[in-house]
């Protein structure tokens, strides 16, 4: 048991001054009712709102994926107009990237970073409130484009001109929504950096920080570096459309390909923004359930930093077919291949952590292991995509769709689920229904492969992406993929049910929900007090947590 379970906060009903031994809790006067959420400044409340919002968007974006898979179930147009189909692919991506995955990471950062570095809260609580509350309005604007004349954006989430400039009323709404999402991300990132840099407990040196904190710190710098680039790119689109500029119009001296360069200068770091925190979570879960410290902690930190650096010099591998000079293609091929090295280091380190461990297979571990296998498959297809001549055949086919869904669904999203299953008992004080969570795991893992693996075949056989209908020889694997999609989609309904059940009650757990867990969050009571570490943890406690 921890020697400093000093400030118990009994969840939900804080009458503030019912203080515990020695610690005045006069900060603990949280508002009740709707004010608790609208005026929220507490990192856990804001974290919860981020996670609930991300969950909601996950199901909205998922419903759009179901429309896509339904129309692609067999050849011929059965359900939707091609233009609406294009809106679905575009909106699915925007909602999943900016609405589901990124807010889920910010939610987990809000909940966990203060607890993991020994801080009472995030450094900038009001900024935290603002950065969250921008998001519902951004998505209100984005989703309402489904009902405006001309329909929702249909030019792809990549917003390539000139196509995107053909958008109707949805176009300025898309631009404004992207600006808002970017602002929210930047504010969230600033908060993460300031918290980590200034709020660490004495003794929590940088190289004692848990990897989730490390990966988020690096992610936050990536966000601050590239979100303004995206904002600039979409602003140029806006002025091209409404104010007569021709940044991306050849007839006015502009260049449509320049947009792609700017977009992917944002876009490639963006994909690491989506995946780096996943590396962090997996690096915490695997040691817990292998009952063994993470192998090569420092190598993991340096590998993460290398990946972040490389992400700035590989962007044009998304656009090998635009007609770049030979030297450019060679450079971006080689720089992209380099990413395999730090990524390989990570996979090898996780594998070495399993080696000679004492493994048990609770739901967070299951999701982390699925991540390990399936993310690696996505890594292999990524390496294949780096080979320029072969990429001429892969580019814009379902092979690419399979690749990025492997790294984003059983990659990023499985890691988010692993994180939720790992920390949910900490957040609620209750153990969830592990049997049901294992059902959730097995259904997800089996059907995510039924859904995405055949898409490799389709792409190699010549099926382009972003098409609403296809030649009949592609029927069989599309049907398999759709069936996988439907079952995968339906089985995700288990996730909110399991969480809801756990919030309502369950077997009470102590500070340390998992016997092999290390880290400061496990030294706090479950659920943790409203202000996580009102008094900094002692050096001994920090050292015990940082067993790597």
């Amino acid at each position: 048991m921890a020697q400093n379970t000093h400030s118990h906060g009994s969840h939900g009903s804080h009458d503030s001054h019912a203080a515990h031994a020695g610690h005045a809790q006069h900060h603990d006067h949280k508002p009740h009712g709707w004010r608790r959420w609208v005026y929220a400044t507490n990192h856990k409340d804001i974290g919860t709102m981020y996670l609930v919002f991300a969950g909601l968007m996950f199901f909205i974006g998922g419903s759009m994926a179901m429309v896509i898979r339904l129309e692609l179930f067999k050849p011929g147009m059965q359900f939707v107009d091609p233009a609406f189909f294009n809106s679905m692919t575009t909106m699915h991506a925007l909602v999943m990237i900016f609405g589901a995955v990124m807010p889920a990471w910010t939610g987990l950062a809000n909940w966990m970073i203060p607890m993991q570095v020994g801080a009472p809260d995030m450094a900038l609580p009001r900024l935290n409130n603002f950065s969250f509350w921008i998001l519902p309005f951004a998505f209100l604007i984005l989703l309402s484009t489904l009902f405006v004349p001309g329909g929702a954006p249909a030019g792809g989430w990549t917003m390539y001109p000139p196509l995107v400039l053909q958008g109707g009323s949805s176009f300025p709404m898309l631009i404004f929504a992207v600006h808002m999402m970017g602002a929210s991300s930047i504010l969230g990132a600033i908060n993460v950096i300031v918290t980590i840099m200034n709020m660490r407990a004495p003794g929590m040196t940088l190289l004692r920080m848990p990897l989730f904190v490390w990966t988020w710190l690096i992610t936050a710098y990536l966000l601050i570096a590239v979100m303004p680039v995206l904002a600039g790119a979409v602003t140029m689109l806006l002025t091209d459309h409404f104010f007569g500029t021709t940044f991306f119009t050849a007839s006015g001296g502009g260049d449509p390909v320049m947009f792609q360069h700017i977009f992917w200068f944002f876009g490639h770091p963006e994909v690491y923004i989506l995946i780096l925190p996943a590396f962090g979570i997996v690096s915490e879960i695997i040691p817990t359930f292998a009952r063994k410290p993470l192998f090569g902690y420092e190598a993991m930190v340096y590998a993460t930093a290398s990946i972040a650096f490389l992400s700035f010099i590989v962007w044009a591998h998304h656009m090998f077919t635009v007609g770049m000079p030979l030297a450019g293609q060679l450079f971006f091929m080689l720089s992209t291949m380099l990413i395999a090295i730090p990524t390989g280091v990570k996979v090898f380190n996780w594998t070495a952590t399993l080696w000679k461990g004492s493994l048990s297979f609770e739901p967070p571990m299951l999701f982390a292991l699925a991540f390990l296998f399936l993310f690696t498959i996505g890594g292999f297809s990524g390496l294949m995509l780096a080979i320029v001549p072969a990429d001429y055949q892969y580019q814009d086919t379902y092979f690419v769709v399979a690749h990025f869904h492997y790294v984003l669904v059983p990659g990023a999203i499985f890691a988010i689920m692993a994180g939720v299953y790992y920390w949910l008992p900490k957040w609620t004080g209750n153990m969830y229904d592990q049997k049901l969570a294992k059902w959730h795991f097995w259904l997800s893992t089996i059907f995510v492969n039924v859904l995405f693996f055949p898409q490799h075949f389709l792409g190699l056989a010549g099926m382009p992406r972003r098409i609403p209908d296809y030649a009949v020889q592609f029927t069989d694997w599309n049907m398999v993929s759709s069936i996988g999609g439907f079952v995968f989609g339906a089985s995700q309904l288990l996730f909110p049910y399991i969480i809801w059940k756990c919030v309502r009650g369950g077997e009470r757990i102590g500070n340390r929900a998992w016997e092999g867990a290390h880290g400061l969050e496990w030294e706090l009571p479950s659920p943790p007090p409203y202000h996580s570490w009102e008094q900094a943890p002692s050096d001994a406690v920090i050292a015990r947590g940082a067993e790597h």
Partner: protein, 291 residues
């Protein structure tokens, strides 16, 4: 009974008449890239397979260790963790250096192939390809032949929302056009690729050629079809270009040099009366019609 026998007989007849070559690219057996019909597409295919097998070997090794660990080091079977195993410089150097060597081995053939794809010397025929929403215009430079190529009417009727037409009854559904691009085999053909409105991408998998068609810019690509492989080769637009992006296929009709020369002569003669002045020729060539 009789019915099922007749059914089986019919099935056997179908199986017997359809050569494996036809069925290799259909249905369940459609799993991989095809080697194509140009030296370049075969080089790309070989490169793809080389890297695929390298990934398979690495995958078997890495997944093997993971699976071995999951099977052997289970708490339920009494495994005791080795908590001192946190770091090993020698191992870490090995698993950094070995991947570097593998990557270099991959990069060398890839770079060589890439240099070849950019070698546009000694082309014998130049065709300007212009992408439209939604179709392709082909202009045989200096040959006086230009025409528009778009989705064939049968596919177009079947692809309408709830058309009631079974796509399986349409020959080459969505992969058929009214006017295919006719090219000679055994000839290095240069494409000058551009677009009229938004970005498109001209892709024929059998040639290993995919190049974006960008309004205001001209991209170059080339292919050289094997002299002994005349035939019809099909592809599609590969860059999202709006509502009917999925409905602008490419069909290339590769003919012997003699047949091509005859075709181009006849086609030029056919188009001549219309081209009274260069201005009207251009106007008629660039009029996009949409489906």
């Amino acid at each position: 009974m009789l019915k099922s026998v007749r059914y089986l007989a019919a099935l056997a007849a179908v199986l017997a008449t359809s050569s494996p070559a036809v069925h290799a690219d259909e249905g369940w057996s459609l799993l991989n890239m095809t080697p194509g019909v140009t030296a370049m597409s075969r080089t790309i295919y070989d490169l793809h397979m080389t890297i695929f097998w390298i990934c398979v070997v690495i995958g078997v090794a890495v997944f093997g260790v993971m699976i071995y660990s999951i099977v052997m080091f289970r708490r339920s079977t009494g495994a005791v963790p080795d908590t001192t195993m946190v770091h090993n410089t020698r191992v870490e150097i090995v698993w950094t250096v070995v991947p570097v060597a593998i990557l270099i081995a991959m990069a060398v053939p890839a770079a060589k192939t890439l240099v070849q794809t950019e070698d546009l010397r000694n082309t014998e025929l130049s065709i300007k390809v212009t992408g439209y929403q939604w179709g392709w215009n082909y202009d045989y430079l200096d040959r006086g032949v230009t025409f528009f190529s778009r989705l064939d009417r049968q596919s177009d009727a079947a692809r309408q929302l709830a058309s009631g037409i079974d796509p399986n009854t349409v020959p080459h559904y969505l992969l058929n056009v009214d006017n295919p691009l006719v090219v000679p085999v055994g000839t290095k053909v240069r494409l000058l690729i551009t677009a009229h409105d938004v970005i498109h991408s001209w892709w024929v998998p059998a040639f290993g050629v995919k190049k974006d068609a960008i309004p205001g810019f001209v991209n170059e690509a080339w292919f050289l079809i094997d002299a002994d492989k005349p035939g019809l080769y099909r592809g599609q637009c590969a860059e999202l270009c709006g509502r009917d992006h999925g409905f602008m296929p490419i069909v290339v009709d590769a003919r012997s040099k003699a047949d091509f020369d005859a075709w181009v002569k006849a086609k030029a003669a056919e188009q001549k009366p219309q081209t009274t002045t260069p201005a009207t020729a251009q106007a008629s060539a660039s009029a996009p019609t949409t489906g």
